[in-house]
Amino acid sequence: MQHVIQLGATALQIGAVYILFSLGLTLIFGVMRIVNFVHGHIFAIAALVVASLLPRLVEGGFAAPTAYVLASLAGIGAALGLGALIYFFGFRHFQRDLVGSFILSIGFVLMLDGVLLSLFGGSVRGVPEIFPGTLSVAGAQITMQRLFLCAVAFLMAAILYWALAHTKLGKALRAVAYDHEAAMMVGVPYGRIAFLGFLIASFLAALAGALLAPVTIVSPVIGTDYLIKGFIAVIIGGLGSVPGAILGSFFVACIETVGGYYLDSSYASIAIFTLVIVVLLFWPKGVLGRG
């Protein structure tokens, strides 16, 4: 029984990160109809900036939580800057062009691989613990750091969910995702909304990066694993669907956790891919995708 709770807690923690990641992917796809492979690098640059700034700030005399907040702000800022740059010099010209935007994003991915490697080096960076301690819930162990990560991730997902339903920007984003021409005809400024959608998505990825930096391996290639899992989550849930992204993320996290526990973890990876195919047999547009 105890290990079931532990597995549940693990799936929840991993799922939280995948949610942050896949929400961005689904948002960008919904608004701009592009498949953004650069998302992983937006995530990575935030994590890298946090990982390289944090130890220096701590050495410079800041308290760890303060330093963490400062480093996270810098990381998210850098990621947003990169996102804006990529949008203006790239994706802006390739909205709704699946092939064109995709090949462009591959170009950015390759280039950023080189840039991140030369800026941050290939070595793995350690980040000191910010919130020490572990919490024991019904026999399952969770670190405070992970708990914080989960809390922020779920909070962000809730805020996004609420904002999409109730704010003017949220409604505009949904309208654009549903029918961008109709949205333009009622006066929604498509270009600005697409840019804001892209920035929000980048922000979510950057936040995930900043949150994850203290608990995982931070290296320039960190984004690829999340990119693959994130895409699987949105395919399962349905591209462009916010509840779908959340559902898909949990699905992937559960398979990864349970499969990794009962089989070995490389079979769990194969299991995830097989299940995607099975899901698509029954729901060619994902479980919650539009028919």
Binding site: G100, I103, I106, F231, L239, S266, S269, L280, P284
Partner: protein
């Protein structure tokens, strides 16, 4: 048909020149570059063939891998001779891709693309789990017969020319026109009685036959293959060849492959900066030459039926 004769002449001249070049080149390094160009061109042309029906086959890398592993396994474990292993590898891949297509072609656009992407990554893990395929360290000793060793460049280029010719003929045939019609509007195509689903599966299978043979050539040329050779980057590069060369032209993927493979051989000396240069080249090409090199330098060679009725750039 004057036009037809001109096409035949073009193919005769171009293909003949390529084969001749592969035979007269004696420098082993330049030969290796030329064979890589030919294999890359095949992969890119295979990708473009599926693009004719409006889908992006990102599982290309997986199918090239299947072809390579099939050829390698037949050659090393079952002692199937080179001349037989190559077409059998293509057939095996064609059948596998037909199965894959039958399941996944019910989905479209980004779904199809992303399934291909995940399939590619999954297949790689599967190879690594099969000791008979050499696991992660790869399969070695995939040698063509010793007597053919000096002729490999010529064989690769000649095979490529024949397969490209096949794809060209298919594109120009009624079947090719059906694919274009599916890209334009699948519902219209279906309403006039075309079984679009079957056509898509067949097109996928044909394209993957070519990819499988290309994979087989890759195995025999390199003599060593590993799961890492067939990551999604292979499909990404093939897409770059198509896009940089010009996706609206049959020659586009070939030109793109020649240019980018040459560039990557220059960049390989740059160490870790290679990605930087390659990525930069793709970005510049895509941003500044939206219809590729051929589009930028005018209409060279046999131009494919102009298909893409691009919606006028919306004022967004």
């Amino acid at each position: 048909m004057d036009n037809k004769r001109k096409t035949v002449l073009h193919w005769g001249l171009g293909g003949g020149a390529a084969i001749l070049l592969s035979l007269v080149l004696t420098d082993p390094y330049l030969r290796s570059v030329l064979t890589l160009m030919a294999i890359s061109a095949l992969l890119a042309a295979s990708l473009r063939f599926v693009m004719l029906m409006g889908e992006l086959n990102f599982a290309l890398a997986a199918f090239a891998g299947l072809g390579a592993y099939a050829a390698g396994y037949m050659n090393t474990a079952l002692s199937v001779p080179f001349v037989l292993a190559l077409p059998l590898a293509g057939l095996f891949t064609a059948v596998a891709s037909a199965l894959f297509g039958a399941i996944t072609l019910r989905a479209k656009g980004p779904y199809f693309l992303l399934i291909g992407f995940t399939f590619t990554e999954a297949v790689r893990v599967v190879y690594s789990k099969i000791p008979a395929l050499g696991g992660t360290s790869g399969m070695i000793g995939i040698y063509p017969p010793l007597s053919l060793d000096d002729w490999m460049a010529g064989i690769v280029v000649a095979t490529s020319v024949i397969l490209l010719l096949g794809l060209f003929a298919a594109e120009r045939s009624d079947f090719g026109r059906i694919l274009l019609a599916i890209r334009e509007n699948e519902n219209v195509a279906r309403s006039v009685g075309v079984n679009t689903y079957l056509c898509k599966v067949i097109a996928m299978s044909c394209a993957c036959f070519v990819a499988g043979v290309a994979g087989g050539l890759h195995a025999f040329v390199n003599t060593v293959i590993s799961p890492g050779d067939f990551s999604y980057l292979l499909a990404a590069f093939a897409l770059a060849y198509v896009k940089v060369g010009g996706e609206n032209y049959f020659l586009g993927p070939i030109v793109g492959a020649v240019v980018l493979v040459a560039l990557s051989h220059y960049a390989i000396g740059l160490g870790g900066s290679e990605h930087f240069l390659y990525g930069g080249a793709i970005i510049v090409a895509v941003l500044l030459m939206p219809s590729g090199i051929l589009g930028a330098f005018g209409k060279v060679g046999p131009r494919s039926v102009e298909t893409k009725v691009r919606a006028a750039r919306h004022a967004v």
